[in-house]
């Protein structure tokens, strides 16, 4: 069973392939002028060629559905859906927050407790989800939400980037980003079996600016008419 995974929701894009039960290989690249978004399939081809994998032997594809960069999410999802249709294989779609939680579990093998993941959404907002971390897998206990305002209280100050200063609140800042290797791990997670679907769907969480602006306009107008 050969599984392919892609993650493109942040500036560091990655593709990973599961070659056997334990053997994986990955390829990461930062999206910039020399590696624009159109390069994703080229990178997949490079990874498969390096490992001498025939694409017809891929049985499943996993994809980071977001939240994160809107355009990045769409690039990954459109590519995953092309593979699903082109190779007639199933898609596993995961939240980018799930991938970060899984990355935390893998890097902290002794940790077994509740874990909150907050991902910078810009505009003083965060994407947020909560998990219970078991020794073998993560279990989602609060689905992805966009928090409009986050207040970090405590005697250590207000700068969340001060990192370890917030240890007593169990709110360490980490440089973790969603990646394709964690996507491969989650594809094996029995708890996430229901994530298997025919096609992936972007998980933006945040509405487009036009929708937000239009909703506010409607609310303002109804307020004025009152």
């Amino acid at each position: 069973m050969i599984r392919l995974a892609i993650s493109t929701s942040c500036s560091d894009n990655s593709v990973s392939v599961l070659l056997s039960d334990e053997q994986t290989d990955s390829l990461s690249y930062s999206r910039d002028a020399s590696y624009p978004r159109e390069q994703l399939v080229l990178k997949i081809a490079e990874l498969l060629q390096k490992n001498q994998v025939d694409k017809r032997h891929i049985t499943e594809i996993g994809v980071d559905e977001g939240p994160g960069s809107f355009t990045g999410i769409r690039t990954g999802v459109a590519t995953a859906n092309a593979f699903a249709l082109g190779l007639n294989i199933a898609v596993h779609g995961f939240s980018s927050l799930d991938l970060i939680a899984e990355q935390y579990r893998l890097s902290h093998p002794l940790f077994q407790d509740r874990l909150c993941v907050a991902l910078d959404a810009g505009r003083n907002q965060v994407y947020f989800a909560a998990y219970y971390v078991h020794p073998t897998h993560i279990e989602k206990i609060l689905s992805d939400v966009l928090l409009e305002s986050v207040l970090l209280a405590g005697k250590t100050g207000t700068d969340p980037l001060a990192g370890l200063k917030l240890d007593h609140l169990r709110l360490p800042y980490t440089p973790f980003q969603p990646n394709a290797l964690c996507c491969l791990h989650l594809m094996k997670n029995p708890y996430f079996k229901n994530q298997v679907k025919k096609y992936a769907v972007p998980n933006y969480i945040r509405a487009s600016d036009a929708e937000i602006f239009f909703s506010k306009k409607i609310i303002d107008q109804s307020g004025q008419s009152d």
Partner: protein, 341 residues
């Protein structure tokens, strides 16, 4: 050779199968007009979101009807320039993925060149060259000299708004629905085109450039002037006035397009003329261009309605002619791309 075309450059999601450049096997197009209606124009982020949600379903549906296998397809053609960058990227990502999975070559198509091709695609034969093409849509208004398929010289471009964009904005000013083209066309048929004197820009010299922003502003002032005359707070324009303004505005646009087309025909000594893009569906423009064709004794190529708006048929059709430029992946996407480069 069977070509799968993919078009996502603006607010139409479309896939099509065309054989040897002109034999249509099938097409699926999803128009996003309803989703953009309340904003009065295309919202790029919303357009991209819809493309990624529907593209695979359209192709699946097309395959079910046509009953072909991926092995039957010889080439993929995808619009990769110019257009909304986020929307183009959805089509490119999908096309690259399919091309890779199926071991098929893929070719990037210039959206405007596809519009020109769409004007004579059904004929199965190309016009006599040199030809002058007027590309007139919501995003573009240009005159192009066509010396052969793939050989273009830009003769004139809009300096500000595209003609189709002006139709949308004027419709909004008049309180009409989006998109503005069809509704203004409908109102114009019962309005007086001589009732209002609106400006025709850039006609003084021999320029082939266009400008429609002044015309749009003139309509805005006409409506505002009426508002001031009857009441500061009134926002309702009488039906008669809406019809007359719509007809006068449309006549101004068509006059400019006709005069510039005639100038371009004379300048290039063209042996044929092409009118394409969404505004080519306008009934008054079609009649006026037929009259030019008769007057100048130059054959006119005008696409049928389903080839005027954005569609993957023209992309697939042109793709067959560009098959020698096909590669394994499309690695470039451009929001702006002159047709002559």
């Amino acid at each position: 050779m069977l070509v799968l075309g993919i078009e996502t450059s603006c607010d139409e999601t479309s896939v099509a199968l065309v054989e040897d450049g002109c034999r249509v096997l099938g097409v699926r197009t999803f128009s996003q007009v309803k989703s953009h209606e309340k904003y009065g124009g295309v919202v790029p982020e919303i357009a991209s979101r819809i493309h990624v949600n529907v593209l695979h379903y359209l192709l699946e549906d097309l395959f079910q009807e046509i009953k072909i296998k991926p092995d039957d397809i010889g080439l993929l053609a995808v619009a990769n320039r110019p257009g909304l960058i986020g929307s183009l990227l959805v089509g490119i990502s999908f096309a690259n993925g399919l091309a890779f999975c199926w071991n098929k070559p893929v070719v990037g198509i210039h959206h405007l060149e596809a519009h020109i091709y769409g004007a004579f695609m059904e004929e199965g034969k190309q016009p006599q060259y040199p030809s002058v093409a007027l590309i007139v849509s919501g995003g573009h208004t240009q005159l192009v000299q066509v010396d052969a398929l793939g050989e273009y010289t830009l003769l004139g471009n809009t300096l500000d708004d595209a003609a189709g964009e002006a139709f949308d904005k004027v419709a909004k000013i008049l309180g009409l629905s989006y998109p503005g083209g069809p509704v203004i066309d409908k109102y114009s048929q019962v309005g007086d085109p001589g009732a209002w004197s609106f400006p025709r820009a850039l006609l003084e010299d021999s320029s082939l450039a266009f400008s429609f922003s002044g015309l749009k502003t003139a309509v805005l002032y006409a409506v505002k002037g009426y508002g001031r005359k009857i009441s500061q707070t009134s926002s309702t324009i009488p039906e008669r006035m809406v019809k007359d303004i719509a007809a006068s505005f449309q006549r101004a646009v068509v006059d400019v397009l006709v005069i510039k087309m005639e100038r371009a025909l004379e300048k290039t000594r063209a042996r044929s003329m092409i009118v394409c893009g969404g505004v080519a569906a306008n009934s008054e423009l079609k009649s006026a261009m037929h009259a030019v064709s008769n007057r100048k004794n130059v054959p006119l190529f005008l696409p049928p309605l389903f080839l005027c708006t954005d569609n993957a048929l023209m992309v697939a059709g042109l793709g067959w002619h560009k098959r020698h430029q096909a590669t394994s992946f499309i690695l470039e996407t451009y929001s702006n791309s002159p047709i002559n480069k």
